[in-house]
Symmetry: C6
Subunit: 256 residues, 6 copies
């Protein structure tokens, strides 16, 4: 009884894809990934990693994701946030970097506030510059999400986002191919995080101008604004707490 | 000789449910969970985890609980508190995430000051957004708490709170079914933390207004107020200690 | 050649009870527990735990003890102290939570300055709220301390303090029973830390008034005052060191 | 499907060379190394090391690299940056110090902003003073990169940079030798980091004047300037956040 | 070729005694223990413990020693020093608490500046209050140091300081007994750290007056004064560095 | 192809000596040790230790070296520096304390800026007070360095510095003895760090005057001055960064 959604859109929630190996077959399987962002100093924390339920390749992907954030947003300010990413309702060890782009999209949704289309499942690793890199098990993952969507009802807006370099590996079941050809199911093949963001949110990712600023109403623009806001609000709060006692009490009685 | 209570109400105390596997049967068993909240910087600490008496799935649940607090209360202030959760009188390793919602209710009671009804035992995991997720052993847990309450005396107000998604797993003993039908025992099936809080406290959980503020006399409202108070009082204290010596002595002679 | 004392009273020193398992019998054995409190930031440190001479159940008891202090004294100020608890002249691993109340009394004696009666040995675990919980080996512990006191000379003021819930387990040697009946030896059965404190110190534990303050001449009152004093004196010292050089020298020549 | 580039130039990206041992042969293999630099306090972090995918000799090389940076840039200011180095698309443990100079060039490109020629693959360890030291497998590495470039198309600008002390170990395939002799492929043999930097960037490394300053338009000059800028901008930001609320809001609405 | 001295006096140097077990015999053996004290925040560090060349019982003794310092000197100021204790020229693991008083005397000599008589070797453990507690191998230790002194030349001022509670274990060789009886060798049996300090330094340990101050020219008086001086000088230095640049340069040219 | 130098002089570089055990023989072998010193808070770091390529006895020697620095330079200021020591081009675990004095000389050269004579190889451990202590394998080490120098060409200024206490162990090859007798090779036997420093640098080590100051043009004088300068420059920089924005920009455009 998984809480995976395949319709509508959500902030901070995305469908990843895992592969389960059985004796003779291996099956793709959707997994719900969520993230929260709030004021604090903890940085980007993957909950499974904290409790040692991940392997080193996954963790490498996570650090690359975090370095991407640094390159993208921390040229003129430090990254000061608390963010947590979790694979909900999973109980086994998670290994491999094929969900690193997925985790990144989820986090950028929480940061920017733009919701992600829940009908799209994502696989693909990401490098330090935001390039999408190929992964394994691409056919099982597509077929697995197709089966799941078919069981829940195909909407025509559902599908899987994969790295462009994996296109040459595609050998899909006839049923899936037909669904794709008839527009009942989709395969998006991408090269960069920015392409993926635009497909998932329907909003421009945001290209920086000469001075390095992102457009306000873009994913990167809002994500950066949120990071700046968290930093500024923390600084304002710290200053307010340093004021005298009477002031403190007054502001406190109005802020819950 | 356990100190489990099945009547009245208490702040920072709740009944969880564990399953003990014997050779041919497995039995549900109540366990008293308590929490304290005080001024400090240690964050939310599960005592069993600190001494390595928990497994990774439990710890994952604990971090999800903590992320929920961040999302809920730390959008405009950092989480600055010391909170400790303990499974009293347990001496074995604790594993699984089926008590993560239970631990969260216990903590929110300590934070808000609202007491929890001791006649209700709780099972269910929670996701980063406060959704309740299904768990295992639901029948054994319900039957186990029923037996315990029957031994202590059924009041009609007792029962077990379970995840709604577990309803399809229910296959209870005839005696328990009859008790439920006749109103001597209860089963509450819920979907969110907020539903659970209202059943356990009899008080609204608290829906935020457009500006994100919770109603004052709600669980979240008071929990947030307590967090703010702890932060503000710590700041005030720090400032008072920076004043000159004579002032310091005077305030000190009146504050114990 | 143990330094265990069974007469008089001491600050920061108490008799705990361990059980030693031999092939056919198990024997209770007194152990001297001591504590020191001083200015610093290290918190409550059990020396055996630091050097990995304790097991997880003992450590759980220690964290519960520490949470009790937080609930009791850190509602309006953080716990800023350095405290160390040691089992003197023990060389084996310590496991179990049956000395957690004993360690707590010892620490509260150091904090409050009230001496503890050395003729009383204590066993019992404590929960996060200060309730005393039952432990194992109660008969061996009582008989062990009786033998030790008899060897050193019975005074009529000696005895063992046990959890009330252990009363139903009592099956003592005829000799011990007679000594208890004739007033040569005592058994105190208690339910809370406050009861234990009053027996060990002869001073009220201290009930907080509506504003949460403890009476000045009570154990909790003086413990809280000491915590406040350590915090205030550290703040004063920090300020004095920030004054100019000449002042610094002058105060320094008078303060050793 | 590796993203290794063998033409053009890139900031923060370089080709390293690994050797893969098969039963009877060993093959050189290019690997793409990338780095990001941003504001923060984390220092120089190798991502593989963080996730325990490196061996001690690699880590020793990394610390030597970091000590080189200290000697070079931190005589009059502390190193305050966040830098991350990753071996993209590698999934096995990395051991040996033969890429330590390669990692250093990559990082100095990110710091200085000067792009590196992607047609050059680099092998060689570096000591604490910036001397290049010999490594193993030099022939396999050169032949491996030659094969890769030939497959992608020889440009005449491609080749391998090796430590001068390895010249005596060269025993290359006839095809490679011919390509080198005919100018279709190159071997650069160097003794210092500065020589390597000039070959990779086409820009002077930068010799310090008597007061220890590097020329502005040199690799070291720009790297040092970037380090100073990161430190200064962080200080400016910290000060701006300490200003009053209205100011804060204004600057915030213009800075994304 | 050990550097053990058996004549004269030294600051921060003392002779400890180890027992080496051979197949049929065990021999006592002197070991030179040294300590340094300087400005810093590292606290009391035993070098062997840092490199994991000690066992848990030794470490327990070290923490008790450190707690003794807290009780003795840190009632009105925190312990802010860097102190290092080493067993010179030892290469095996050190276990047991029989040198904890020895380490304490060595450290108090460094702190107070009073030299210790090198003709005296010391064995004995210490509790949190400064009581000396019995140890094992007392005869081997005394005989071992006697042999060593005899080899180097008996002065009549040499001997071993042991815990008083070990007197009942004494069964010494005829030769040692005669030397003791004829005043050529000495055995001091003590109960407290203060007794030991006076024998080793020839100076009063120092009894605190009603306000808790130690006499200036006593071991504790000077040790406390040194701790206060280190704290005050660090504070003065910090302030001086916050002054303006020109001042800084001037003071700098005069202070080496 | 080692970069060991046996002629001239270098700052922060020295020859250590290792012994390699073969089946029937053991050979001494030179190893180049280097160090860097720069602004920072990391203290003295041995790179091999950081990557766990050293054993506990080596690490003990390193901590003793660090304690020596504390005693020598940190009586009136804390040690605030970043220093890194490395054994260049070594790939095996390093154990034993026979290079602890060698590492210390190397570091004191980096600190003082005085170059060390590269024709001298050094072996010997050091205690907390700067006394040189005997080591093992003295003959193999001397003979090994002699062979190496002979291969590179004897200059008459080359030789090995050993602990005086090792003189009684000398049993050198006839060829080495002749070279020593004829002045073609040297053996220096020393007792203290100060003796060693003067031989290696040709400069006085520096005896403190009554107020504890070292002569300006001595090794300790310049080392202490460098430590003070690093501390002062860091403080000045911190202050400069706290000035206003325009000032910051100006100073920044002149300082690379
Ligand atoms: Ca308030
Ligand atoms: Ca409020
Ligand atoms: Ca006061
Ligand atoms: Ca008071
Ligand atoms: Ca002073
Ligand atoms: Ca003084
Ligand atoms: Ca703002
Ligand atoms: Ca903005
Ligand atoms: Ca200066
Ligand atoms: Ca100076
Ligand atoms: Ca600037
Ligand atoms: Ca500049």
């Amino acid at each position: 009884i998984l809480r995976v959604e395949v319709d509508g859109e959500r902030v901070g929630q995305i469908n990843g894809l895992t592969v389960i190996d059985m004796r003779e077959h291996s099956f793709g399987h959707p997994v719900r990934i969520t993230s929260n962002v709030y004021m604090g100093q903890e940085g980007v924390v993957n909950i499974e990693r904290e409790v040692k339920l991940t392997g080193p390749i996954h963790n490498k992907g996570l650090l690359i994701l975090s370095s991407y954030l640094g390159k993208k947003y921390a040229q003129d300010m430090p990254l000061t946030l608390s963010a947590r990413i979790a694979f909900e309702q999973t109980y086994e060890e998670i290994e491999g970097d094929s969900a690193s782009s997925t985790e990144l999209y989820c986090l950028l949704s929480s940061l920017s506030g733009y919701p992600l289309k829940q009908g799209i499942a994502v696989t693909g690793s990401v490098d330090q510059f935001g390039n999408i890199q190929p992964i394994g098990g691409v056919n099982e993952k597509i077929e697995g999400f197709f089966r799941y969507c078919k069981f829940r009802g195909l909407t025509g807006k559902q599908g899987v986002m994969i790295p462009k370099q994996n296109l040459i590996h595609l050998m899909l079941d006839h049923e899936v191919l037909e669904a794709v050809e008839s527009g009942k199911f989709n395969i998006w093949a991408i090269e960069t995080v920015d392409e993926g963001l635009e497909i998932l949110t329907g909003v421009p990712a945001g290209t920086p101008d000469e001075s390095g600023k992102y457009p306000e109403d873009s994913v990167h623009g809002r994500a950066k604004a949120k990071l700046r806001l968290l930093m500024e609000e923390a600084a304002k709060l710290k200053k307010a707490l340093q004021k005298d006692e009477k002031d403190g009490k007054e502001s406190s009685s109005n802020d819950n």
